[in-house]
């Protein structure tokens, strides 16, 4: 069954808006409602929408790299961020903040974001593949 015209033409716009919302959620996470995990789920939801409307090929071309690679690099990024303080004789995971709330917590959170997006989009791609 072919998706309806309204769906195919609006999904892309909605996806862009959703991702802008996700970015906003990500950046205000430190001081207000939001954060890496929430932003990740929101982004993943947009990817699910795109997959269901345009098929998995489109999604794959959109995120360029293998979703599982994205997730693994997210974990790696978070771990490495936690390791940084140990090079300055500080305890493991001691976070450092600079101006405007940008600092190691944000990098750590970005790792979480990558993991969530990667995992969920991997699942949707595989489920769609099996259909």
């Amino acid at each position: 069954m072919k998706p309806s015209f309204i769906l195919t033409s609006t999904t892309k716009i909605i996806a862009v808006l959703v991702n802008i919302f996700a970015v906003m959620m990500f950046f205000k996470g430190h001081n207000d409602t939001g954060g890496g995990f929430i932003a990740g789920t929101i982004s993943a939801l947009s990817l699910i929408m795109l997959t269901m409307v345009y098929g998995k090929k489109y999604t794959k071309s959109l995120i360029k790299i293998n979703p599982i690679t994205l997730a693994l690099s997210g974990v790696l990024l978070s771990y490495l961020t936690c390791l940084i303080p140990t090079f300055f004789d500080l305890p493991f995971m001691m976070h450092k903040l600079s101006y405007f709330g940008i600092g190691t917590p944000m990098i750590f959170d970005f790792g979480v974001y990558c993991v969530v997006v990667g995992t969920i989009s991997q699942m949707i791609v595989i489920l769609e593949e099996a259909n």
Binding site: H30, T119, I124, L127, N131
Partner: protein, 709 residues
């Protein structure tokens, strides 16, 4: 091969310069008393030296052994060498265990290197099982020692060893556990069966792991712990018994086996038994002779395993009855192997002879109440058996070719033969020290030598006619049986608990859980009732939401179609989000909403995939009633658990601390997020790792499913 050579030079350099013992210290996990601490003394220096020496020779051998270069093999080999060296130099109990287990893993990878053959899989699995189970015993034993003595540094333990005599009764369980670990690693009775099984490994692996390195770790640990446990009343009798049993049965099996590598493996077991026996007898200052014996065994057994690898490559079989005339094709390796065999048979002029003389001398001077006669008889029997086994091996170098034409043989290269003779020459050079004097040990040796040669000549003319080893005596097959039985029983067990439809197994599992919980919660019911009837003002909004949730849940139970049920369930989920908003938890609400949406999409896709009749399968009324009872009980139990938890604050809530310190310590004003990335960031790290594992699991399950289709 350069790496081990360079490290050998470094080891020799340390040996010639430094004053021993030396220790280094670096904090790692101070809370558990685990530090990166290394101890360099005579024992560890000797073992690192031996490891490097054999590592270099094996590296040279591998260059020619493998037709194709395989980087994977060298990675495993280096991993093994590193962990081996780590074990012998580590000064901390925790570090020792880590490296000890690493050697087990590396040896698993090395033995199973030919991943496609069944024997390699089996041998690697058995090695891993035996060494890791006994390794756990070792860990328990070492932790006991640490708990009793309050020391985790081996150097400290050795220092205070003389004062430990009052603690010896308490240390006995620790000693037994450690001994199990040692016996497992060094393939001593009753764990001797894994070594022949591990012979499915490529020849260089056998030459390295099973002559020089891995099996010597147990001996190393005996040497290391000697000062601590040698006063224990169990030390001498247990080591004596185990050593003698292992020595004799190893030699016996060596005579009985026709497989060249198995024969060598059994003779290794026998030699290791002799080493354990030596530890039971020597007085503390006399460890030089033991180290000498270890060196002797390492060099000649390494040479023999390497020669065996050459023979197998030439003849394409492991049966020594089908091998002959190797001298013509590989003269250098043959001479090396014959020297090594002479050392194994303890013929005068080799290190093997000296080493056996040492054993006999200390046996004769034994001033204890054990019957030394039996022990000497055991040594003689072992020696005779090893001479017979050795002379069988010598036969493969002489005589005409059997069943192979000369053109078809690929002649071993010079590079593969060189390490054999290098290794064997060490045994020869050290062996020619003048040691001859007419003494009782010499007489005993000459006696066993003549008997051994006569017996092997007799059996040579009888063409080695004897049956295979009886099944009951073969411990390896018993272990195989146990492993197979475990697999059979776990399959049966899984069949009972698991079925393909959740409607069948969920009632069983949930019913079991609710029964247990009911038993625990029964006495608390009056209390729960009391909490339930408290007069708390509840807003009308909350009541409305609760009503919607309940309606959704009930609807999910009674609507007929699966898709409708799903929608009813998602109503429940989304209204719960409103609850979070009512109680001012926006982060939770958003997360819940997102997860609800994603979950719904996944479920819809899955429902589309399932066959129609499996989703809406009718259930009998009786079963439905049973399910209803179980669900009601589970619901009541969950509710009462929540009521109990919210009213009974056993420990002070952490939330106050977090809210107060969010700005000061984490520099953010969203408490939830600072908890996630900062205060409890460690948990988040764990969670994202779990997420990855789950994703990989999904990939694995669905891909194999497609492969089946």
């Amino acid at each position: 091969m350069l790496v081990p050579l360079v490290s050998l030079v470094i080891v020799l350099d340390i040996a010639s310069q430094s004053s021993l013992p030396q220790t280094t210290f670096l904090k790692w996990i101070p809370e558990l008393g685990i530090h990166l601490s290394f101890l360099i003394d005579k024992v560890s220096l000797f073992f690192t030296g031996v490891t490097c020496l054999m590592g270099a020779l094996i590296g040279l051998y591998c260059q020619s052994y493998f037709k194709k270069a395989s980087p994977r093999f060298y990675i495993y080999l280096m991993l093994f060498m590193t962990s081996m060296m780590g074990t012998v130099v580590s000064n901390n109990i925790g570090l020792l265990i880590v490296f000890w287990e690493l050697t087990a893993i590396a040896s698993f990878l090395l033995i199973g290197f030919n991943t496609t053959t069944k024997e390699a899989q089996k041998g690697a699995l058995m090695t891993l099982l035996v060494t890791s189970i006994t390794g756990l015993c070792l860990m328990a034993g070492l932790i006991l020692v640490a708990l009793i003595t309050q020391f985790t540094q081996l150097s400290d333990l050795i220092e205070i060893a003389p004062q430990l005599s009052s603690l010896q009764p308490y240390l006995t369980p620790a000693f037994i556990l450690i001994l199990i670990g040692i016996l497992g690693k060094s393939a001593q009775f009753p764990f001797h069966f894994w070594l022949p099984k591990a012979m499915s490994a490529p020849a260089p692996v056998s030459a390295y792991l099973h002559s020089a390195a891995m099996v010597k770790l147990g001996i190393f640990l005996l040497a290391r712990l000697y000062p601590i446990f040698s006063q224990n009343s169990l030390w001498t009798p247990t080591l004596l018994t185990i050593g003698v049993i292992t020595m004799v049965i190893g030699a016996m099996y060596a005579v009985l086996s026709h497989d060249i590598k198995e024969l060598l493996a059994y003779s290794t077991i026998s030699q290791l038994g002799a080493l354990v026996l030596n530890f039971a007898m020597t007085s503390a200052g006399d460890s030089n002779s033991i180290l000498f014996q270890i060196l002797n065994h390492v060099v000649y057994k390494g040479a023999l395993f390497m020669a065996a690898g050459i023979a197998i490559q030439v003849f394409h079989t492991q049966d020594i009855r089908k091998m002959s005339g190797l001298l013509k094709f590989a003269p250098i390796a043959a001479i090396g192997a014959i020297i090594a065999l002479a050392s194994m048979m303890a013929i005068p002029g080799t290190t093997g002879f000296i080493s056996k003389e040492m054993t006999l001398t200390s046996l004769l001077s034994l001033q204890i109440s054990y019957d030394a006669g039996i022990l000497i008889a055991a040594v003689i029997v072992t020696n005779i058996a090893l001479i017979i086994a050795g002379s069988r091996l010598i036969m493969i170098f002489f005589g005409p070719l059997k069943g192979l034409s000369e053109e078809h043989i690929d002649r071993p290269s010079f590079g593969i033969q060189l390490p054999v003779i290098l290794s064997a020459s060490i045994a020869f050079i050290f062996g020619t020290f003048p040691h001859m004097q007419l003494s009782i040990p010499l007489m005993i040796s000459l006696f066993s030598l003549s008997v051994g040669i006569t017996l092997s000549l007799v059996s040579y003319y009888k063409k080695w006619q004897w049956g295979p080893c009886p099944r009951w005596a073969n411990m390896g097959s018993h272990c195989d049986d146990v492993i197979t039985q475990i697999r059979v029983w776990s399959t049966k067990m899984t069949q009972i608990v698991k079925t393909d439809t959740p409607t069948q197994y969920l009632p069983i599992t949930l019913g079991f859980i609710s029964a247990i919980l009911l038993l625990i919660m029964m006495p608390l019911f009056p209390q729960i009732m009391q909490y339930l009837y408290q007069d708390d003002p509840i807003s009308s909004l909350a009541i409305t939401l609760a009503g919607i949730i309940a309606a959704g849940a009930i609807a999910a139970c009674i609507v007929p179609h699966a898709m409708h049920r799903l929608i009813a369930l998602s109503v429940v989920g989304i209204v719960v989000c409103f609850y979070f908003i009512v109680y001012q938890a926006p982060d939770l609400a958003i997360t819940q909403l997102m997860i609800e949406a994603i979950g719904l999409v996944f479920m819809v896709i899955l429902l589309k995939r399932l066959p129609k009749d499996s989703v809406d399968r009718p259930i009998t009324v009786f079963k439905q009633a049973g399910n209803l009872v179980i669900s009601v009980i589970m619901g009541c139990l969950a509710t009462s658990l929540i009521v109990l938890m919210t009213n009974n604050q056993l420990i002070e809530s952490m939330s106050g601390y977090f809210i107060q310190n969010t700005q000061a310590l984490a520099g953010g004003s969203n408490t939830v997020n600072t908890i996630l990335v900062d205060f409890r960031g460690f948990d988040t790290m764990g969670e994202i790792s779990v997420l990855i594992i789950a994703a990989l699991g999904v990939v694995g399950v669905l891909w194999t499913k497609e492969a089946h289709e």
